[in-house]
Symmetry: C2
Subunit: 791 residues, 2 copies
Amino acid sequence: MANITKKVSWSSRGDESGGGERTPLLNGSEEVRYTRQLSGDGGMFHIGRLSTVDLEEDMTSDEVNSIDCVKVNRFVFQSLDYDNSENQLFLEEERRMSFLGFKCLEISRWVICGLIGFLTGLIACCIDIAVENLAGVKYFVVKQNIEKFTEVGGLSISLILWAVLNAAFVMVGAIIVAFFEPGAAGSGIPQIKCYLNGVKIPRVVRLKTLVVKVCGVICSVAGGLAVGKEGPMIHSGAVVAAGVSQGRSTSLKKDFKIFEYFRRDTEKRDFVSAGAAAGVSAAFGAPVGGVLFSLEEGASFWNQMLTWRIFFASMISTFTLNFFLSIYNKKPGDLSSPGLINFGRFESDSVAYNLYEIPLFIVMGAAGGLLGALFNILNYWLTIFRIRYVHRPCLQVMEAMLVGAVTATVSFAMIYFSNDCQPLGPDQSEDYPLQLFCADGEYNSMATAFFNTPERSVRSLFHNPPGSYNPLTLSLFTLTYFFLACWTYGLTVSAGVFIPSLLIGAAWGRLFGILLASITPDGSIWADPGKYALIGAAAQLGGIVRMTLSLTVIMVEATGNVTYGLPIMLVLLTAKIVGDYFVEGLYDIHIKLQSVPFLHLEAPATSHWLTAREVMSAPVTCFNRIEKVGTIVDVLSNTSTNHNGFPVVVPVAASDDMGKVCGLILRSQLIVLLKHKVFVELARSRLTQRKLQLKDFRDAYPRFPPIQSIHVSQDERECMMDLTEFMNPTPYTVPQETSLPRVFKLFRALGLRHLVVVDSENRVVGLVTRKDLARYHLGKHGLEEMQLAQT
Amino acid sequence: MANITKKVSWSSRGDESGGGERTPLLNGSEEVRYTRQLSGDGGMFHIGRLSTVDLEEDMTSDEVNSIDCVKVNRFVFQSLDYDNSENQLFLEEERRMSFLGFKCLEISRWVICGLIGFLTGLIACCIDIAVENLAGVKYFVVKQNIEKFTEVGGLSISLILWAVLNAAFVMVGAIIVAFFEPGAAGSGIPQIKCYLNGVKIPRVVRLKTLVVKVCGVICSVAGGLAVGKEGPMIHSGAVVAAGVSQGRSTSLKKDFKIFEYFRRDTEKRDFVSAGAAAGVSAAFGAPVGGVLFSLEEGASFWNQMLTWRIFFASMISTFTLNFFLSIYNKKPGDLSSPGLINFGRFESDSVAYNLYEIPLFIVMGAAGGLLGALFNILNYWLTIFRIRYVHRPCLQVMEAMLVGAVTATVSFAMIYFSNDCQPLGPDQSEDYPLQLFCADGEYNSMATAFFNTPERSVRSLFHNPPGSYNPLTLSLFTLTYFFLACWTYGLTVSAGVFIPSLLIGAAWGRLFGILLASITPDGSIWADPGKYALIGAAAQLGGIVRMTLSLTVIMVEATGNVTYGLPIMLVLLTAKIVGDYFVEGLYDIHIKLQSVPFLHLEAPATSHWLTAREVMSAPVTCFNRIEKVGTIVDVLSNTSTNHNGFPVVVPVAASDDMGKVCGLILRSQLIVLLKHKVFVELARSRLTQRKLQLKDFRDAYPRFPPIQSIHVSQDERECMMDLTEFMNPTPYTVPQETSLPRVFKLFRALGLRHLVVVDSENRVVGLVTRKDLARYHLGKHGLEEMQLAQT
């Protein structure tokens, strides 16, 4: 009955008990706590193989061996069980529940979403205030110091002070990330994308990750890196959602005994999408943008009631942030400027655009696409390099510190050698105007871009009056910041790429605007540099991350003016089309580098000739309705397979070995059954035994114990287990002739984890899992099969 | 084999050949060309039965009989085949197609979306210009007349002139709708909702409907009815999309031989959603709102590439409208104020809101919900009345004319008796300031609300400075306009309810603001009446139509300022919650009144105890792989059943009558096969016979001939047909124990039309269609089964 020749599902069970869980780091850095034991059956896996750049060609086999331990991706991705297991227990519970019960559940969902929004907003507020104050102190100290030494000479001391301060902040941030929770590195958006796609990345929604993420992002932004605090907000929102919706913290061993109904993947994933939306909403003050972000990333499994709840969470999140910041800013109750980043208000009169500007916008979009692709390719190479050579935590911390110090040095050099002095107007809004070598009443224009938090620099580029920057300043700034940002993304610090992208784009956009104004006779009327800065920012960001719909709305909401809706859309679409021609978006690159079985939107176009028979994993390990405990334990203990779902079959009379499918049972369910010793014999002898309830499954969720921790005696191995009550009696099945696109559609639309393939007699012939579908993709030479994380 | 005891699918085939096609009118009016012959098997069906108000209780049986013919809903709703029939022809074509071929298809899709956007924008532009000019002439003439008679007395002549002009315009609009294309009545939004939901409403996307709709809406707005031109734009966009995407016009008998690949329901529906979005986008200048509208209404079957194309269509649509209007307004190229309705710019300084205003907004939302519910209930009763008594076209035209005349009379009376005179400022933006009995240099304030197109009135309410209206004027206006709008919606004219709703809300919102300012000591600072007018407008509109997400974005985009995003969201959510407590949204009421099998988002919460076995239709008419032509013709000709899909089965050896399912074939496919005489015997005799291709099916789409029009001789009846090549070999199946929510989820997520229910041996036991699922809904006493359109 139990044929095990090929993996049919992928899980970490074996690894967890064996060599310790590994965390895949989608920012490209690598954890060091790897295990040396490689499974024999092709578990070794080279990253180079799935990339467009084949790295192995120029390596000797020694080199290959030496980095095996790093390159092997024995990561522990699991699929989410988005399909409810409608077993008898579940149906009984649902049937017992009254209409009022369902109403209560619905209200709970709204309450949870409100809580998620509130807490996410609160976290955003804390981050903002902390960053403002830390960066304020830092810039104040450095400014004092520079002013002191400008006259007397010895500015190198100021430089050292600045660099040391930066490196110190960055060090703290890097240490907590590298040593305590590597999963908190990067922006977290790739991880959340994967989660919403249906892949569970270990430890990504834990409390510890949240704490490290929040502290990390404060340190890295205060440390003056070319990073933003917006990406991490999205991750934070998701963690908050995963925590709040479960009514308990597994890490803190605290169970509030509430929201127990929601302790399953189906419900949790819904809340996580609300959390991500709340994060976007808090980061950019863009509640609708947040909803669209969740939609764009988690486009399948969508429903309308969920959309409304997500919307509610986003709304509360912006509102909370807004409210607390208004109190902090001593204007309590003034709620008109939400979001961590505020692009400032674009006044309508100055921003009107004209038809003949549209081609210019499209050109800028294309430029953004090109620059974005360049950014992504450089970052890809850098990430490959990091995966190979910078994988120890201490090395990672040192690299981060180095980047921090270099950022300060480069900034200082740029400011020092710049001679772009601007008059300090009466309505001067510069926070730290550096006079340096400028005349009295003037300030160094380069410093407004470098000597500031990136958010403020963006705002200056958008809103400072024409003439605030000269073209040379802008081009130098663009050039240096581009490479700094590219180097920074993927460091072992918690940081986002949104703001640096916007900043690069705003700089060259403004440059473009200035040049345009200079070549047109009376161009100053329509070539407002701030407008072009905004368009450039959109183009650059679009070229790097390749989102369109949600990004348009986010930009529109952040500028507080819909006039630019159309040009921003056009620019983002152009940037996406141009960029996609060269390379994927930054997040997708990092997802691919980890060979996450990420399901794209549709099956590859030319895959109609593939059928379920060719795609599926076969033969499949099946169980009988009433199965011997020993068999079950043996199958579950088999570390070389780690199946996660098992069809339950009824043997066919005229027996060949495959039975008719009558259900599907999950590893997690079997584990709980074994733990509670739900054996037929015991039930007979102990008549009063408590019946297993759904609660027992929910209590074990989401960290089901590994099979090794469950003791089954030799006597018990001879017992029988009746699976009928616990299996899902109506798993989705497809005939084996079904085409891949059809299978894909079913799988993706319903968010399945296992799809049973049957023959015309309803006998099990195979099982389709996420990995079977994710490995096909459309390459340059038609359909290609790629290798995915081996787990 | 062919057991026909219960209807398993619903179609119009029989009716088309029999008593003439009937058009369901979702605006509540009724077509007169009904047929008297009622089918014996319960085809009679009372509307009252499915409504919350049981109308039959107070009627004698005579009365019931006398209106039978009106009440019988033998409408012709068909389901869309959103699931591709992946038969051998299709798979062969897909396999033959190269990667480049798919690229070309993708590009075609973008081109079509661009065209849809362009044409929709153009239509919007025509409507706008026509309405502006016609209304301009009308108001000019009436104003001249009033001014002439104000001094000398005899204003009743002016009144008559106004009433006659109104009635004349309305008459033209009503005549073309009532006599030529009743499907063009109303806003068209319910029809588009149904279409996106997967129900095909006959004639709803035809060219004739578009022409009548456009002319109709021009007449009704110019005729001074309490209507808007925005709803019809959405319908127009959808029709444009359905036409353009097919590359031919069936009505005009013109085939451009392009886009043939898209001639099937799957593709067409995608384009229609883009068209609807383009319509919204053109109507409100809200491209993102348009996308969200399509999302909110067609939430299932969603995918991301489609979203982007819809976005593109919306963008082009706004852009086109904007561009042509800018030329018309003599400011070519100035693209900064898009949309048919423009709420005018809310300047940021004047519109800041504060925390303590939030409760006020929520109160206004609740008020909007209440008033909306009242509006809906009144309109519901009115619609019932109309269905019973006003069902002849001439009666309908007369009612419309009456409403037109009454609107003029009431307006005139209100203006006449109003003594709210306001000084005519230097920056006066009134288009037709009526002095009437006011002093020189003053104008009648009531006239700005009544003597104007509703769009302009809305803008005046939003933007006129505080003090422009006195409270009495506003309350009288609210009261009269509320009832006028309620009476107007459902008339046999082409018109929307968005603008009247906004206008009512703006009026009482402004009133609220004024009252607020008067009771607060120095309230004038924050209680800007324009702000409250906006909130009131959102509340009222939300209370009537109950959309949240899309409406928020539409409102935000139309005001051109995101500051109000949060309050508008809150208000819309509150209005929805409060309103839903009493009655459904206006569109849903009208959909329900036509008993359209509309699938809601999710299965009713308490339906877990229902299984596929109880829900399905059984027994099912099945065919063999190789079936006798006579049998097929007989089944298709059976007018009492009108099945649309037939499982194809392989007989089981130990035969009871049900075979194992091996495919599914549609009526439309069988019709084409019969028409081309694809019989086994003929194929043998005529070896060179052209093989049937997908093109033959596409050419017949979407108006497949009725079976009666196909002549099959007695000899041919004895031939056999091989269905193997044409059937869908892998239809989705579910076991009969599957719970209703699970069936529902599968059905809705994949947009199915037929779902085969099988037993454990894979034998057909039943068929689930849209109607089987749509009839369950959650009533006040738990799960209720309702009766749906009998076809």
